[in-house]
């Protein structure tokens, strides 16, 4: 069975690139354009990995991550993918329960290998 990846971002071009990459690497890909959409999909699909932007309208990435980590039935690994690159932002991401924090712009190779690595763990 294909592993599920949820990509959450409000930038259409970034979303499109990531979707393409993940499909190419044989993942079952879901996409969400904001936090609330993401929460619905997470509860329906319980994906192995979530690539999560932080700055989004309505519900931001930190809140989505915290929700997932608090919910025992959800096993998703969370990778933050954000333009926020200050150390304090990174720390805040890990405090919210992230498994990995990657800054934008990102290397396609790195993100693919990280998603592969985490998807096996679940």
């Amino acid at each position: 069975m294909k592993k599920k990846v949820l990509i959450v971002d409000d930038e259409p071009n970034i979303l499109m690139s990531l979707e393409f990459l993940m499909k190419k690497n044989d993942f079952n890909v879901f996409i969400a354009r904001d936090g609330s959409e993401a929460l619905t999909i997470v509860q329906q699909e319980n994906p192995e990995v979530i690539i999560l932007d932080i700055m989004m309208p309505n519900v931001d990435g930190y809140e989505v991550c915290q929700f997932i980590k608090k919910e025992p039935s959800l096993k998703s690994k969370v990778i933050f993918l954000s333009a926020k690159s200050k150390q304090s932002d990174i720390d805040k991401g890990y405090e919210a329960g992230a498994d990995y924090y990657m800054t934008k712009p990102f290397s396609t190779k790195n993100i693919v290998s990280k998603v592969n690595e985490l998807s096996i763990l679940t």
Partner: protein, 882 residues
Amino acid sequence: MALLFGIAYLGEKNESSRWVKNPYVYALSLAVYCTAWTFYGSVGRAASAGLDFLTTYIGPILLAPLLWVLVRKVIRISKVQRITTIADFISSRYGKDTSIGALVAFVCFFGVLPYISIQIKAISKSFTVITEGLTVESTSSNIFFNDTAFYITLILACFTILFGARRIDTHRKNSGLVSVIAFESLFKLLVFFVIGVYITFFLFDGFGDVFNKAAKLNDFEYLITIDNDEGYSEWMWLNILSAFAFILLPRQFQVMIKENTDEKHLLKASWLFPLYLLLINIFVVPIAMAGRLIFQDIDIDADMFMLAIPMNAKELGLAIMTYLGGFSAATSMIIVSTTALGVMISNSVINPLILKNNTETKGRLLLRVRQFTILFILLFSYLYFKFVSNRFSIVSIGLISFVAVAQLAPSFIIGLYWKSATRIGAFSGICIGMIIWFFTLVVPTIVSTGWLPESIMTNGLFGIELFKPYQFLGVRGPNSIVNGFFASFFFNLITYLIVSLLTKRSTKEINQAEVFVDIFKYSKFYESAVFWKGKAMVKDVQNLLERFLGRKQSELALNHFQSKNNIDQNITEADFRMVNFAENLLAGAIGSSSARVLVSSVVREEQLHMDEVLSMLKETQHFISDNKELRKKSEELAEAGEKLRIANQQLREIDDQKDEFISTVTHEMRTPVTAIRASSEIMQDPSLTNEERAHFSKTIVEETQRMERLINQVLDLEKMRSGKMNVPVEVIDLNQIAVDSLDSLSPLIQEKGIKLNTRFSEDNLPVLCNEDKIKQVILNLVSNAIKFCNKEDGKIALTTNRSNGTAELSVGDNGSGIPVESRPLLFQAFYQAQNQTIKKPEGSGLGLTISKKIIEYHNGEIWIEQNEPNGAVVAFKIPLMQ
């Protein structure tokens, strides 16, 4: 008597102990005011004239609240200038002048002498009553060595000299004397109380009984009402008179000012002392009534009721106690008064005379002079008692004394507050007052002895009607003492004021007036505050001090002074501070005018000219104004500091904003860069189809354009922020710009199915502007409206019109609108980016910020308001060309 010596000795020995220096002892010592006059005389007066006796006590009681204001000032001045007597005080106030000091001393001498004599009278009379019985007429011999009063006088002189005048430095506190006075005050109060209780509650059945029985006396009504036929003015004048006496009598000055150890004691005394007066007066009327009732048929001097009543009841113990109480009252008054008078006369009258002729005089001689003066005063009082005061009641002589002393009131009290009072003014005021006093009040007593013809009283002096002593210049009150007081005081005051205004002050007087009136300003740095010019050798000053104070004490004082003021021990020439210091020190010992004479003998003083004093005064004023300037400067500095702090905070805020701006800009740039990098990396994959490759390359182009736009906008904004925007302007119709702007956007509007509604003003709207910039603003507003209008049924309205000399353009949409509190925030850079609750639209987040800058550049305004029924309106206006 032995007890007195004992207490005085103990008080002297425990000089430093606390009980002497406590406010209760101080308040009790003030009660030296209550003499034999109070003890015997009040009863006598109450028995014949009713409530009149109270005036003597109401005056001081009314004055008590003022003690803190008035007397504290006097105490402070006296401490700083080492003043010990009232003569010294007044002479110091008017330039340390010898003549006025002597005049005041004479006033006090003539005022107080009869007063002392009535104390002797009281002692001797009560002695006679107690030893020889009630009805026996005074048999005391006219030959003095057979007369007990004479020996009592001598013993009192010894006591006074021992405890009042043993040391030359009068500035030192006489704690022995004070403790005796306080003790006697307590004792006389106690005795009065015991007798009062005895008479009221044992001989009669309480106050009610006494009054009920007394009501049968034919003049009862008169006795218990206040001046029913003479009006209240007499009462008022007697009150004023006793208030003056309370402050000005030499003995009051002695206990209240000189012996004061702590200014704060005044606070306690200002209620304790009135309380004392109240207590000692409670039983006066009952005793007087009782006396009248008991001795209805026997002719007994009412002054002696206090003694006569217990004796009549065969209570010898009580009688002796009463006698001792009266004795206490009389002796304490005699002792303090003679001490004060003795110091005053020797320091203000005799010493200056001796020193003027012979400045080599030793301190010992001056001390002897003082001691002899005391003896002399007492003997003189004795003689006065023998020949004059036997004929008058205690109270009337007391009041005559009061009037004499009251002559000092204008120079003393007004001098404390009025700088322009002059020495000549004070001198002539006192002289006039004393002359009138002598004529209106003393002459009648002399006439009554038969030494002057009766015609003065009935026809006036030289037969002139106006010069009748009891109706001087036609002042016709019913009370001769009030008449005399009024006339003498009135002319004294008028003379003092007028002469002061007409005469000029000497430099020394100006100095002293300054120091006296503003004592609380000067008392801290007194030595340096007095203007003085001259030269003296340290050695001479030192010798002078040694002669009067002794080697040890003067060395100690000088060393202390030098170390306090950082003066080199080895200097030979004394500066003005040291000379002033020495003069003060000497003034404490021998009075200020004597000290002045002595100091001028060693100092080659240069006469100060008026302009020099003025320049010195100016210097002080400079000093004060420099101080003010300094304070102003430091206030300004504090203010500047505060401004700086605010400016710094603003700078820091701007800095923070800048940081925030840069971090937001770089953050905004990361987004397109991320898309570009991801797309490029994907394109490196050779397995990509052509279609996919085209898609990603299109993304790269789009994101690069977005990047370019962002960079341009940031640069634009930065240019406008720093005020460097310099674009060409021309006059152009705003409607035209709006139409052109809409043209470029209409394809997008149509594509999104949005209804556009335009309403242009009928006439042209010529504005001076840069067409491109204004177009940029309109495009920004319209594309915002496209972004935010209702997604299903989008509507946009663009309106222009003319209003109040401006051209106005507004763009409305039918979106969800903008809350009032967010409206101003929208013009901040990247507001959207920072506010996550707003659905992130396309665009950089700099559009409105840039629009605002452009409109402000054109001297216009931009704002947001509510659209009806829903949505937002963004509008701007810029000035129209005329």
